[in-house]
Symmetry: C2
């Protein structure tokens, strides 16, 4: 057994993902089928770890699995004609920048609310207003 390989439980812990979710991603082709041990255990390496970490972060940022698939495809389309890649990257960048803007507004209001708490009571809360206009 190579020290560079690890089982699904380790991968799950490192990425804070449920084991069943990892197998689910494999079943829908988002993660490649890894090699197996003689006892039929899946064996993962660093590249699986990176790919899964990427997927999980994207999911927590509100991208759908199809979005993630596209982003991963961008990675794999190196050294190819890039009109399509460019178009996709632009559209994803726009979405990402919009999300950053929204989150920045939300963070500002949360900080405001935390500051308002100094006196023991909440004065005025604009969390809803931050993202509702």
């Amino acid at each position: 057994m190579n020290a560079d390989y690890f089982t699904i439980g380790t991968l799950a812990k490192e990425t804070e993902t449920k084991i069943v979710t990892i197998r689910y991603y494999e079943s829908i082709g988002l993660l490649p089928e890894p090699p197996r041990t003689e006892g039929n255990y899946r064996l993962y390496n660093r590249s699986h770890l990176m790919r899964l970490t990427f997927i999980r972060r994207c999911r927590s940022l509100g991208f759908t699995l199809n979005h993630v698939r596209e982003l991963l495809a961008l990675t794999e389309k190196q050294d190819q004609d890039c009109n399509e890649v460019d178009r996709l990257a632009h559209s994803h960048l726009e979405a990402v920048e919009h999300k950053i803007q929204d989150l920045t507004k939300l963070a500002k209001e949360l900080r405001h609310q935390i500051n308002s708490c100094q006196g023991g009571r909440i004065a005025d809360c604009h969390i809803l207003e931050a993202l509702s206009s």
Copy 2:
């Protein structure tokens, strides 16, 4: 009929939400039951619009409906003792700041990729690396 009130179709268009999704939010108590016309049509106003806009933005930012429920509750807990509110606001702020960091990294790599496209071919892509460490 007051001009300040509008039907579910209008609300759906304004918030880019499916009509069925609005009714679903009502059914799980995330949106209040609106008044009805004599013909049993739901009638919404600006406050419904704001609340739904907030919910939809939060969802697109990767918060679960339970997170959204908590954030909305923060808004409604004005003038109450604020230990709990403060704790929640801090924890949400932390999550939001983390999301901003991740998105900023992703945006940087997307911009890099877009620039690489100048020559007609993609040189090196680090989108995956941006969110996998």
